[in-house]
């Protein structure tokens, strides 16, 4: 069963076509990869799937429910979390405060309660420990290194218990030793039932991690399949090396 379905989606910026009749399915319980040369439309596809950009045409559905052009918070509330290529954390909040921002969806009385004594606090600490930055919990997030910010963004998405997570270059800027640990964490979460869609330029990371890989070129998928199949696909080699 497909948990995310993108059907014939188009998106242009002025005269530049970012997505051109793009269709993509992500099966439930999968770690799916999305690769392609720079400017192939991967991040734009992420943006339209999570409500940060409106589509010009086509549809997006999540678990059978239409989410085309829905607001980002609505989509997030339904269970689709995402990280950004350039991390978007809250730099002047501490690491632990960042973790609590993503659990704001509650009534007014809940909002007036103290965040540090909430039930989510313990879980926030556990998740920081899970990604390995719990010791930095009291530091302003802006003081973290780029890789640490990536991990923080990943952790604060997890606290909202998403069903699907879209990771935009999760390994970018993360030190090589940590990349393997990060892949292990993604696999562990996947075993717990979370579906992943990963955009990444680090081919080794994608090929080792993903069950299924889709290759984008000029705003549309040109190949899809198991990593080993995609790697051999002449159209993929052409897209990466041809122009």
């Amino acid at each position: 069963m497909n948990v995310l379905e993108v059907a014939n989606v188009s998106k242009s910026y002025g005269g530049i076509v970012a997505l051109n009749g793009c269709s993509l399915n992500v099966a439930e319980g999968q770690i799916a990869g999305l690769i392609g040369p720079n400017g192939s439309g991967k991040t734009t596809l992420f943006n339209v799937m999570t409500g940060y950009e409106k589509v010009d045409g086509g549809t997006v559905t999540f678990a059978g429910r239409p989410i085309t052009n829905a607001k980002p918070d609505t989509i997030f509330g339904m269970g689709v979390g995402r990280t950004f290529q350039l991390t978007r954390i809250f730099p002047r909040l501490t690491v632990i405060e960042n973790m609590h921002v993503a659990v704001q969806r509650q009534g007014m009385l809940g909002l007036l309660s103290r965040w540090s004594s909430s039930g989510e606090h313990q879980r926030a600490l556990e998740l920081l420990d899970f990604v390995g930055i719990s010791r930095l919990k009291s530091l302003p997030a802006g003081n973290l290194s780029y890789g640490q910010k990536k991990l923080l963004e990943f952790a604060f998405i997890l606290i909202a218990n998403p069903k699907v997570i879209l990771l935009d270059e999760p390994a970018g800027g993360v030190n090589p030793a940590m990349i393997n640990v990060l892949a292990g964490r993604i696999r562990e979460l996947n075993r717990q039932g979370i579906t992943f869609l990963v955009v990444e330029h680090n081919m080794e990371f994608v090929m080792n991690l993903c069950h299924h890989v889709t290759v984008m070129h000029r705003g549309t998928p040109i190949a899809a399949g198991r990593p080993a199949e995609v790697r051999q696909n002449p159209a993929v080699l052409e897209a990466y090396l041809g122009d």
Binding site: P72, L93, F130, I133
Partner: protein
Amino acid sequence: MTDSMAKLLKVGSLLLLLVLALLFPFIAGNSTYVTIAIFAFGFAAAATGWNVFSGYTGYIALGHAAYYGIGGYTLAILCQHWHIAGGWIPFLLVPLAGLVAAVFSVPLGAIALRTRRHTFVVVTIATFFILQLMSYNLRGLTNGSSGIDFPLITDWGINIPGISFADFYVLPFYYVALALTLVALAVSWFVRNSKFGLGLLAIRDDEDRALGLGVRTGPSKLFAFVISAFFAGAAGALLSYYIGGVQPTFTFDALFDVAIALMVFFGGIGTLAGPILGALVLESVQKYSATVFTQGGGGVYLIIYGALFLVVVLLLPQGVIPSLSILWNKYVLRRIEPTDAAEDTSAGTPGAGPVGDRLPRVNEGASA
């Protein structure tokens, strides 16, 4: 120093400051200084309220003089229409005046908050001028440019042996101003530590991202705006009552906005104590210099203001409280750094320490 000792020291210092504030009129021994303190605490309450909105969300509002004016006029109109005599009763109506200002702020804030950044600043300034014009022109209600006088206070109903009426006169105003500041501080603390406050701080850093994570940005900003208008209105009511009347020129005073913004920036925007420190220093300097330097049209305080700001901008650019906080953290970090460096060899193992390629930098920009 252990955490519990640090906490004890903090609570002890705050209690000492509170006792000093309570005893100040008797320590000062001069009603002129108490008058200065009344204005300083009145502005401290307004600045603390302003900080709940502008400091926490990053939206700089420069139209809160409108709510200060609404508060002042509300109390004056209520006293006039309900024939309230001078004395204690108007103090009880100060929260009501703040509430009326808060009610006004709902539609005005809702309109202004449809915009962001510079446009928001301009819209808030515009709302101020609209309300000032209304105070000139709604003569049946506001008495136009003549304004409205508050009822004279001829007797507080309390006689303390050894204290004259003139000396006692300022005391109720002082304690109400102090109470208003403490309430504003408590609200600011409560907001800062609540999930609602966390949402406001997230808006300050990246509003669209906060919205994407489910923070109700619109209602949160409006609620904070209304809180800040309440304290501006309450401060306007109290200080107008002390002055003895309201007039469009000085009750709707554009300089009020500049003053509270400067106070908050001086002390440290987005901090708890910064607005109070800024108000106590700057308002005291202004009122004191106006008292001492009677020549030159009372503008000497501007020179002192300028000098103070030069010092703060050059030496403490983020405001007094955050800058001192950074210096303190640097000092602490220097002391613990050798230990941390040794521990950091475990970096990169989840659950066993920081994942990083270097030591974290000092705690810059943390709220005090």
